[in-house]
């Protein structure tokens, strides 16, 4: 690579480039920060386990077609293949419709992932923006907003979601909307609290003094600082989101049969729990593992993103 060994310095390794104290471009600086955050993250074995679980969920969801052994919705012979225990042919056994539970779990991961992703995508931006706006502007905007969130927070989450689903009609899409509607207030409160601590900082004054508009200050300066705590809160909430969706499914208001939603699977397996425990237990385990994974991931993210923990 080098012609003259004496005149050219060795090319810096990727690690050195990322940790360079004098980054030469914005992307280098940003990647460097991500790298440092990553190293902090993987120093925590539980967080890594959480990440592995979440990645496994995504993997299973993407490759469901390849990983499943049978159809998730079409059952086998209703006379001979109902409620079979786990075996070589049916890895987790079969349910009361002679459907392979393993394949249903695999395809159900798509539904779980969809629920989690869509709820996050809907609720997080709404919460962030409302909260930051209320916190920054203050005055009557803040007061109105606080009363609005009070109303939402006064109801237990499942009850509120039930009310919305009852109004919108059963189905997984409506369940997602309902859950998203009920879950944004705490994120808004969080964003508002963060905003109120930083709105009197000198760096915010400095932007105002440059002529920055409120919108600019909110989007480029305030919201980026609220994002970390909201992300952590969202990941810790994901377990709750999955369980709420499962709860709605259990009540028959979420995913409709024959959809392999894990909560609905528990509901239908409830009747057989004494003798054919695997019908309810396996989807229960799946929910447990995924919730745990998100929880651990959230904890790990908090260690990385929390400004009080870093330094």
């Amino acid at each position: 690579m080098t012609d003259t060994a004496t005149s050219s310095a060795p090319k810096p390794s990727l690690r050195q480039w990322l940790l360079s104290p004098e980054p030469a471009s914005r992307s280098q600086a940003r990647l460097g920060r991500l790298y440092v955050g990553w190293k902090t993250f993987i120093g925590n074995p539980l967080a890594v386990m959480g990440l592995v679980i979440v990645l496994a969920l995504i993997f299973v969801a993407i490759f469901a077609d390849v990983l499943a052994t049978h159809s998730p919705t079409v059952g086998g012979d209703l006379r001979t293949q109902r409620l079979l225990p786990p075996s070589a042919e049916f890895w987790f056994g079969t349910d009361d419709q002679a459907r392979d539970i393993y394949s249903r779990i695999v395809y159900g991961s798509r539904l779980t992932l969809m629920v989690v992703a869509l709820v996050t995508v809907i609720a997080m931006p709404i919460g962030l923006l409302f909260g930051a706006l209320a916190g920054y502007v203050g005055g009557w905007v803040d007061a109105v907003f606080m009363r609005l969130t009070d109303i939402f927070l006064a109801f237990p989450r499942l009850v509120l979601a039930l009310a919305f689903v009852a109004a919108l009609g059963p189905g997984i899409e409506n369940a997602i909307i309902a859950i998203a509607i009920t879950i944004w207030p705490p994120y808004a409160r969080l964003a508002r609290a963060e905003t109120m601590t930083i709105r009197n900082s000198d760096f915010i004054h400095a932007v105002r003094l440059q002529g920055g508009s409120t919108a600019r200050i909110l989007f480029r300066h305030v919201v980026p600082l609220c994002t970390s705590s909201v992300i952590v809160r969202v990941t810790l909430d994901m377990a709750g989101i999955i369980l709420t969706a499962a709860g709605l499914g259990f009540l028959g208001l979420g995913a409709q049969p024959p959809s392999p939603e894990w909560g609905a699977m528990i509901a239908s397996g409830r009747r057989f729990i004494m003798d054919q425990w695997w019908v309810a237990a396996v989807p229960g385990m799946a929910i447990f593992i995924v919730s745990l994974g998100f929880n651990l991931l959230g904890d790990g993210l908090r260690d990385v993103l929390d400004p009080k923990a870093s330094r």
Binding site: P23, F203, L209, Q210, L225
Partner: protein
């Protein structure tokens, strides 16, 4: 007698109402000629920072007028105002956005004012405050206190203002770093013909950087004098004398 660049007349700032009423500044009047450097001296609660923030529009004004270059300042302040008047804040650890690189911090004012050649301006702004281009993509937590303050000064100057408001710019810095920043501020003023309004509790710092100074206490002006007079010890008001004594440090010979 040249027209003053900044004229403050009967400025009064009152916070709260009724029992909570607090007069932060009362009937403050002074003028700064173009290219001059004026110091506002006082301890905490003197109202000096209030006056500064009233000028920038960060505090509302209850009575009085603020005139810049002969014209009253618009409320709310407009973009031309912000191109003329800028501020350097006290705490270097709080005045830079923790998640923005130096490059982003310096390009923000340029973007707001629609100035195009950002890259060149940023590099020359950094050079002016003695920071090389290697600092351009660092985050504030990767800078020392003195370096952060230099970035804050670069940010204030990048719009080429005429009046610079300095709110205790060196109080949070080590003594050796303070000397560097004071020298920098002096050079910049000479190079760019800037007008300074410096707020500080430190008489020596103000005497070093300013020609005239005003002493404030409990929101009111108690004395006005030149730096020369302070150096000679020719002060009249009780409070100013007290500050001058305190400047000398601790002495066991003091009668109590």
């Amino acid at each position: 007698m040249t027209a003053p660049f900044l004229a403050i007349r009967n400025l009064t700032v009152v916070f709260g109402k009724g029992a909570d009423r607090f007069v932060a500044a009362e009937d403050v009047s002074f003028e700064i000629a173009p290219g001059e450097s004026l110091g506002l001296v006082g301890e905490s609660g003197s109202g000096k920072s209030t006056v500064l923030r009233a000028i920038t529009g960060l505090n509302p004004v209850t009575h009085g007028t603020i005139e810049l270059d002969g014209r009253p300042v618009p409320t709310p302040r407009d973009l031309p105002f912000y191109r003329t008047v800028q501020m350097v804040f006290q705490d270097p650890y709080g005045s830079l956005h923790p998640r923005h690189t130096v490059d982003q911090i310096l390009s923000e004012p340029l973007a707001i004012h629609g100035i195009r050649d950002t890259s060149d301006r940023i590099v020359s702004a950094l050079a002016e405050v003695g920071l090389g281009p290697g600092f351009r993509f660092r985050y504030p937590h990767q800078l020392s206190g003195g370096q952060r303050q230099r970035v804050a000064i670069a940010r204030a100057l990048i719009l080429r203002p005429k009046l610079l408001l300095l709110d205790e710019p060196t109080s949070a810095l080590d003594a050796s770093v303070q000397a560097e920043i004071l020298n920098l501020l002096e050079n910049l003023r000479r190079e760019h013909g800037l007008t300074y309004l410096l707020v500080s509790h430190d008489l020596a710092v103000v005497a070093h950087l300013c020609e005239r100074m005003i002493v404030m206490r409990h929101g009111q002006i108690v004395e006005r004098m030149t730096a020369e007079a302070v150096r000679r010890g020719e002060v009249h008001h009780e409070y100013t004398k007290l500050m001058l004594e305190a400047e000398k440090g601790f002495s066991r010979a003091q009668p109590r």
